[in-house]
Amino acid sequence: MEQQTAIRMQNITKNFGQVLANHNVSIDIRKGEILSLLGENGSGKTTLMNMLSGIYYPDAGKIYVNGEAVSIRSPEDAFACGIGMIHQHFKLIDVFTAAENVVLGLHGKDANLKNAVSRIRDICEKYGFEMDPSQKVYNMSVSQKQTLEIIKVLYRGADILILDEPTAVLTPQETEHLFQVIRNMKKAGKAVVIITHKLHEVLSVSDRVAILRRGEYIDTVATADATVQSLAEMMVGKKITLNIERPPVQNPKKCIEVKGLTVESQDGVRLLDDISFTANSGEILGIAGISGCGQKELLESIAGLQKVSAGTSILYTAPDTEVSVELVGKNPKQIREMGISLSFVPEDRLGMGLVGAMGMTDNMMLKNYRRGRTPFAERGEPRKLAEKIREELEVATPGINVPVRRLSGGNVQKVLVGREIAAAPTVLMTAYAVRGLDIHTSYTIYHLLNEQKKAGVAVIYVGEDLDVLLELCDRILVLCAGHVNGILDGASATKEEIGMLMTHLQKEGSSDAK
């Protein structure tokens, strides 16, 4: 089949205030091909595609669908043009069934539920989905919800599908299945666009790659001619090394010893079940697992933010005096008052680690604003620290008193990690420390973590990118539904091994290697 152009975007420009999200971008999307839209976070990929799906309207430029100029002013217009987008955050109603979600918002014959069920079955058969139309959304896994979103779009007759970071929430096995489905759609003549920043996925699934950098269109290349290195350089705009170092562990000492950690939700559901492990100083302990299977509770238990069940013991051993103290039952303030410097970079940066409406200075004093005997808060030291972090970590901000929520994701994380490291910790816990960050900042963070490791800090790294976990961590603890499903050696473990442990709960006592 000779490839025809499905969509042509010409000289598209879009501003948000002073920020130029897209500048003069022109790309073609062809029928029967998979196009990867590659770029770092903040490079304008999602904005560009949102103009196809009717969320935004371009400030300048034209869009042609099948050679005809169109103006897409709403998602309905987009559907009328045969364009469907699967967003990163699913837009489903939890208490509805799959079929009910599919027909939601439609009229006439399309909205008939009986019709819909049989048509959904046809779609599933055609492309290789597995989906029960009568299943409620709240009973679905993340990957099932994603499948439902895709079916929803296909049901509305979309010929052009846009998937925004579809693999961010999937395990390696689920990712492979998704790619298979996408290839089936390609065979059926649909145009598929995948927004991503993961290079190896680009290479394994797409036909062509369009690259954006800081809102500018860089180039489109055939995947066959590209390598990880060449794509990364186009994406970042300069030569970069893509290796994460793993300095050898020196003189590890037991620092945090968790025994029988159990956490129950308010409804009595066990979120963590009898977790035991040790984190050593001078070592990076990775924690892998599908998102939301207890990582948050695990870190917050150690930080003194989570109520734990009776029988739990979290023992902290000071690296210099080797005196052990129990952390269970202490809140963050009490832990600090015992002289323990425990740093924590939580997943929710602006909702927990920082105060979005405050500037860098005020955020620096978050944990030690009580310093000094007067009732007045001392801002001199925090200001100096803010200046120092701004300079050393190259935080891009108009000023240290500008609210941090106005900064980009990478800069927000630099502020948070900078503050936590400045506290000279003996334990450093990070949750999804590089989520949403550009390559350069991610490597800055890896480097900072390695520096802390070399300085003898016990680092706990909760991550989602298995490639990174395998390169960075000395040991990897795999969580599965609140259980420790195995602790692997970072240097010898494989991605498939971890993927298996993430999804298949081992029987009691089968894998406690270390």
């Binding site: 420009t13 501003n15 948000f16 205030g17 002073q18 309207y57 400030d59 300048a60 430029g61 669908v65 005809e68 100029a69 169109v70 103006s71 002013r73 309905e76 217009d77 009328a80 043009c81 045969g82 399309d110 509305r156 007759g157 930080a303 933010l305 809140n331 963050p332 303030k333 009490q334 600090r336 924590f344 939580p346 929710d348 602006l350 909702g351 927990m352 680690g353 920082l354 105060v355 979005g356 409406a357 405050m358 005020d362 004093m365 978050l366 944990k367 604003y369 009580r370 009732p375 007045f376 808060a377």
Partner: protein, 375 residues
């Protein structure tokens, strides 16, 4: 599906939206105040049109009368100042609570219980205690009463997560009932259902004149509170805790702040200042107590606090504006034989424009024509 698609795309070809809204970056302070000033000017023009079309009166005369009503004589000026201070004082009380995102809409009740405490002191202790001691007792008891009224909802919220909006609102009704009871208890003359002026002869517990002005002490107390609260919120550790709790309770817990404790402590302060407003209202201006002592100012002050974005210094300006409008409205209502509604229309239009101007400070509008030019 296919035919529908074609008609829609054919119909909407090239038709860009008429206007779109985009968020602005921070605007220079001068420009934003310019926009607010323009909004006031525009509101006066619109009001003029409305006034003329409803009453066929000369709008300039009506505005003149409004000004007359608020600042027409020495006495009117001082009444305006007195009422501005009382509204400002409640705004100050609300500032720490609102900054903490604790929706205290119970200022009305907190003012009333402060007033009851003050009136009780004047009635029962007026002839017993020397002046300085009486004042200390009045201040302390009114603060305690207001603080209690404010802290109860905070305590429940921190313990059981109750909704503070409903709770503080309901506490208002309790306060009103208690006031009714006290009015019946203290009514003078008997059977009038009014308390009447308390200690009319001895003037025990009345604010003394300062610099020869009856309400100067009100001004001094309230302005001191305004500056004090400004410093408290901006520069102290407590103020910092309040900001953090208000922005995100999760972050506060992460920082080791005891959120419940901050709730209760801040509401003690908020309630105490509101109680103090009751003290000023009874001892410093009306010298009596009734269910109208707070007079709805507890609710008006919510507008003051929000429009000033919880900055107690900006609140001075806003309080003055609102009281000016109130006095002016009363004046034109009585002068021109109009009823209250005509003046309320004017107040409504002016507030609408001022609040609406914030939209233009935060957003800009892009018209269709502009897009064409850009292409």
């Amino acid at each position: 599906m296919q035919s529908k698609a074609e008609t829609i795309s054919a119909k909407k070809k090239y038709r860009e939206p008429l206007a779109r809204i985009a968020k602005r970056d921070a605007m220079p302070v001068l420009l934003s105040w310019g926009i607010r000033a323009a909004a006031v000017l525009l509101s006066l023009i619109v009001s003029a049109v409305v006034i003329y079309s409803i009453t066929t009166m000369n709008p300039l005369k009506v505005y003149g009368a409004m000004f007359e009503g608020a600042f027409g004589s020495q006495r009117k000026i001082w009444i305006t100042v007195r009422d501005t201070m009382s509204l400002l004082c409640i705004g100050i009380a609300l500032a720490p609570a609102f900054k903490m995102r604790f929706w205290n809409i119970g200022a009305e009740g907190q003012v009333l219980v402060g007033g009851i405490a003050t009136a009780a002191c004047m009635i029962y202790l007026g002839d017993v205690l020397p002046t300085y001691a009486l004042f200390i007792v009045m201040i302390v008891s009114s603060c305690l009463a207001g603080a209690l009224w404010g802290a109860i909802p905070a305590l429940f919220k921190s313990r059981w997560g109750t909704n503070e909006t409903l709770f503080t609102l309901m506490m208002n009704y309790v306060a009103i009932q208690i006031t009714s009871y006290c009015v019946a208890l203290w009514e003078n003359p008997y059977g009038s259902n009014y308390v009447g002026i308390i200690n009319p002869r001895t003037k025990a517990g009345w604010f003394p004149e300062v610099f020869g002005k009856q309400y100067m002490l009100n001004v001094i107390i309230v302005l001191t509170l305004a500056v004090g609260m400004f410093i408290y919120l901006r520069s102290t550790k407590h103020g910092y805790e309040i900001s953090v709790v208000g922005q995100s309770e999760n972050t506060a817990r992460y920082a080791g702040i005891n959120v419940g404790k901050v709730f209760v402590r801040t509401m003690l302060i908020s309630g105490a200042v509101a109680g103090l407003t009751g003290f000023i209202a009874v001892s410093g201006s009306s010298h009596t107590i009734s269910v109208n002592t707070a007079g709805g100012r507890g609710f008006t002050a919510i507008i003051v606090a929000w429009m000033a974005k919880f900055n107690t210094l900006t609140m001075m300006l806003i309080s003055l504006l609102l009281i000016f409008l109130e006095k002016g409205a009363n004046e034109i209502a009585s002068n021109f034989g109009l009823n209250d509604f005509a003046s309320q229309i004017i107040t409504g239009i002016i507030l609408f424009f001022i609040i609406g101007s914030e939209f233009f400070i935060n957003y800009r509008i892009i018209w269709r024509k502009k897009i064409r030019e850009a292409v």
